[in-house]
Each structure stands twice: as C-alpha cells, then as structure tokens.
C-alpha cells in the first residue's frame, strides 16, 4: 500500500473543515514556519527538497521563489494556479475539495517565505462548487487568525482571495493567468520579462500549482531529506497520479515519483477494463506525447519521461484500448487545441485549425493522399515557433500519434494502407 502524504485525510469525514483538520495535526507547519524559521531558511529547505512544479512544466519551486527580488517598493503577489485544464487531470480538485486547509497552509508558508501579502487562487470557472468550499475554508482560517493581520503574532499579514476563471484552458499558462486575473483576455505574454520581476499588476509575482503548494507544509514539518526519500533525490516527494480511460479503477493514486507507469496501470488502477487490451497511454495529460503499449515500462519522473520522448506533465494518465481508433483520438486532440488556442500568434491559431479541419475531413471519410504528411508538416511548423507552450502542447501529441500510428491513420484514407 502506497504511503499517503498529501491524500492522507481525503477519506476522513469533514477533513475539509478547520476543526477536524486541526484535530488531525493541521496548521502545525505554519507554527513552525512563522515562529521558528526565517524566510531564508524556508527557501533553503524548499530548494533542497527539489520540489518540482506539479502543474505540468516541472520548474523547481524553490528556484522560482528565489527569482523574486528581495526588497522592492512594489507589493508582491502569489497566484495559485487552480485552473486544472489539462485533459485527464483532476488531482487538484481532490486537494481543494477534501483538504483545502493543507493548501492554505502551503499558501501561507510560501507567501511568508517570499514576502507576499496578497494571494489569489485562480480557479477554473467550472469548479464553482469547489470555489465555494475554498471560500468557506478561507473564512474559517480568517476566523482562527491563520489569515489576515499578524498571523500567529508573527507580524506577518496575508490576504487570500478566490478568483474564478471562465472557461479557457490557456489561462492555466502562467502569463495568461495573470492577464485573466487583471480582467483581460487570456493572452500569454512575451517572456522576458518574467513574472518574478514583472507579473500581476506589473509587480513581482509567483505562480504555483495547487499540488506544488500542498507539499510545502510537509516539507517544512519533515524536512527536505525526508521529502527526497519519498520520491527521488532530484525529484522529491510523491505525485497524485490521475488515471482515467479504459482502466478498471479510474481515480487518483498518490505514489512516489519514479513509480513505473506499468505498475500504476496494472497494479494500482486495476489493469484494463474487462475484455480490453492496451493500445496506447498518454502519461502526463493530453499535451504529453503518446506511448505505445511497448513503451509503458518507463518510470514516472521528469527525466525518465523526457528520455522516453514524452513528459510527466500533470501526471494525468489516460489509457487507450485496442478498440479505440487513433484517428478518433487524433480528432479529439486537434479539436481541443484548436478550441483552446487564444488566437494571438499565427502558427497556433491557424495551424491548429488547419489540422482540425484536415482530421475532421479524414474522420468523415474524405481523407486524401498526403493529408498525414500535411498534418506532420503543419504540426512541425507550430512546434517551437509559438509565443507560448500551447503550440508545443498541441504539436507534440499530434506528431506522436501521426508518427507512431501512421499505418492505422492511413488505413482511413481510400487508396492507402
């Protein structure tokens, strides 16, 4: 049985309420952080723990915090990325629903470390019910003095607000999130400048994923070495893997980083649904290149998946069976990215629509010779040429499907295959 760290209280009734949470040893981490540690010490601990971002990009959280200038005459902000739009991903929903106070502790400690006094939780618009739960938890924390002025008598002030998005996957990209928080269209910004220097309202800003922040209290209470032990030295801690698709037991599974993908599917998630055979797996959310049935012996950590020419991303595992057409998978991928493209830059705006139109035509039985080469060429012209990572997020899975399942795709074109 895998050790539960983040998910320990998920099955405990009412653990989302502050009284039960405190009963279960909650809000001890902020006591230690605010009363016994300096911001510099917290930063060193988080850096040493090798806590990498759980949103998808995997950037080390401690390093990111270190980019924020120490003293500056502008306010600093923390934006908590609860947009959770990557298809296949649902782990943050669990954290917010079942253990919002763990998240709040992480927010408080991170803000204290970086010198931030205002935090916004940017939560996707569809999570309205969860946003209400967050607001309740925040109100409870204020009531107990864990938020607001002079927290625990430390002299540290912090306000936390919930800000709802309105249906745009692109707002999970950090600079598009900032634009959306400022009341504008979710168009990603050019980098440099980076949010750590010019971010929300032109002030230094840190943006972190929900799960990333939820790990911070654990690191503070148990130390960096403990954290690295739970995962890998270069990649500390556990991940909450979300498994969906044609498995017997879809759901969340908290496991050490580096757990083999094969084990997650067949040991933990119950293997394939009855009568289904494995065809392909998307290991890290739809943006991750697809792996064939022969390629699932890979360890689920950042570096191993990069070596396997895919990525860990959001740790969302989608399992595809032999009865599913890869043309249909390709169609759904193209549909998603063309729908979610913000439209700012030429390759993503026009390239994704072009691919979608071609795949739709193929799916309607009107595929032509050369269509697949066209798709590959268009996707290659998107890759690496766009203003933000959404272009790559679209091109990579499309290229992996067209390359690894080319024969099957060609069989849909009359006169081919």
């Amino acid at each position: 049985m895998a050790e539960k760290l983040l998910t320990k209280l998920f099955d405990v009734e009412n653990a989302h309420t502050i009284d039960i949470y405190i009963q279960k040893n909650g809000y001890r981490a902020i006591q230690k952080a605010l009363k016994e540690m300096t911001p510099e010490q917290i930063l060193e601990e988080v850096k040493a723990a090798n806590l990498r971002g759980r949103g998808g990009a995997g950037f080390p959280a401690g390093v990111k915090w270190g980019f924020v200038p120490k003293t500056v005459d502008k306010p600093k902000y923390l934006c908590v990325n609860a947009d959770e739009g990557e298809p296949g991903t649902f782990k943050d929903r669990y954290i917010m629903t079942h253990n919002p106070h763990l998240l709040l502790e992480g927010i408080i400690i991170s803000s204290y470390c970086v010198g931030i006094h205002t935090a916004y939780i940017y939560i996707r618009g569809e999570y309205e019910v969860i946003a209400l739960r967050l607001e309740e938890a925040i109100a409870e924390a204020y009531a107990k003095g864990y938020l607001g002025k002079d927290i625990l008598g430390s002299g540290f002030d912090l306000d936390v607000y919930v800000h709802r998005g309105a249906g745009a996957y692109i707002c999970g990209e950090e600079t598009a999130l900032l634009e959306s928080l400022e009341g504008k269209r979710g168009n990603p910004r050019l980098k440099p400048p980076f949010p750590a220097s010019i971010g929300l309202f032109k002030c230094p800003t840190v943006i972190n994923n929900i799960e990333t922040l939820a790990n911070v209290p654990l690191i503070i209470l148990n130390g960096a070495d403990w954290f690295k032990q739970k995962g890998l030295p270069k990649d500390g801690g556990t991940r909450i893997f979300g498994v969906s698709g044609m498995v017997a037991k879809p759901g969340i599974y908290e496991l050490p980083i580096g757990t083999p993908l094969k084990d997650i599917i067949f040991e933990h998630a119950g293997g394939m649904k009855k009568g289904k055979k494995l065809k392909a797996v998307i290991p890290g959310g739809m943006s991750a290149p697809v792996l064939t049935a022969d390629e699932i012996n890979v360890a689920m950590d950042f570096d191993s998946l990069v070596e396997a020419k895919s990525m860990l991303g959001s740790g969302a595992i989608i399992v595809i069976d032999q009865d599913t057409s890869m043309l249909e998978v390709l169609r759904l991928v193209a549909k998603f990215y063309s729908h979610e493209s913000c439209g700012q830059c030429t390759p993503c705006r026009i390239g994704n629509a072009w691919i979608r139109k071609t795949v739709d035509r193929m799916a309607n039985g009107a595929g032509q010779k050369g269509d697949i080469d066209n798709i590959i060429r268009v996707a290659s012209n998107i890759l690496g040429k766009t203003l933000c990572p959404l272009g790559d997020a679209a091109a990579m899975p499309i290229l992996s499907i067209t390359q690894k399942f080319r024969e099957e795709l060609e069989s849909h074109i009359k006169g081919q295959g």
């Binding site: 929903r93 569809e126 999570y127 800000h163 269209r185 989608i318 729908h339 979610e340």
Partner: protein, 157 residues
Amino acid sequence: MSPEFSDQTKQKIAEVIARYPQKKAALLPVLHLVQQEIGHISAAEEIQLAGLLELKPIQVREVVTFYTMYNRQPVGKYHIQVCSNLSCSLLGAQSLIDYLKDKLGIDLGETTSDKKFTLTTVECLGACEHAPCMMVNFDYYGKLSKKTIDEILDHLE
C-alpha cells in the same frame, strides 16, 4: 431599458471589486455574478459593467467573447454541458451526446422550446475518473449512461 442589478448583486460586486488594486481586475468574477442574476450578458449589461469598472464597453465585449462560460444569449433553466474530450469519449460520451440530442429534440447549442434545457458540449471538466461526465449548471454528474441521464433529467424541476 437597461436592467438594474439587484441590491444583493450590487453589494457582492462592490465586495469583489475591493479585492483588487485595480477595478477592472474584477471583471471576470463580476461577469459571473451578473450572469448568475440575469442569465446571460447582453450589450446592456456590458455597458453597465463598463461604467462600474471604469472600462469602455468594447473592453467588456472583448472579454465576454473570449471565455466560453459567458452566455451571450439566454440559456434554458438547466444548461447541460456534456464533456466531449478524450477520457469521456473513450467511455462513450459521443453516443450519450446523440442520445441527449434525440431525447431533448434539439441540436447542440440550442434550447428546448419550453426553455428548460440548453445542450452544449464542453472540453475536459476535470472529472475524468468519473467519465463520461456532464455538468448541469454547476453540478457535476459522472459515470453516465442513458438510464442515469433519464433519472437526472427527470429529477430536474
């Protein structure tokens, strides 16, 4: 005649605006509040909100047309949004969408003549472990089948 927001909504709007150092940052949450009361965002609401947040109406329209959750037209009492993304499609979402179209007698994007149901598809709702999923207003329903869809719809007044 532009509709005035209720006092309760105006109060909530003022609270939300106070959370940000710039008024216009409150636009997205405030649009949600207005839509909650009025049901959709028309030009009249855009003009009112622009005044409240010190923006020009065109800036409000730019935002409303970018995000999928803001209704430009009125929707039925229950807005059914069925997920058509990968995990849900693997588990049969497409046939359920067809079933709903048939059952309600409308196409995607349309509203039933008694104004009770609007049907649309939506991208990943973040509940893939319960695929196939749909969202009715803001309530999530998962592990759908034709039978459970019938039951859910029957219970909606």
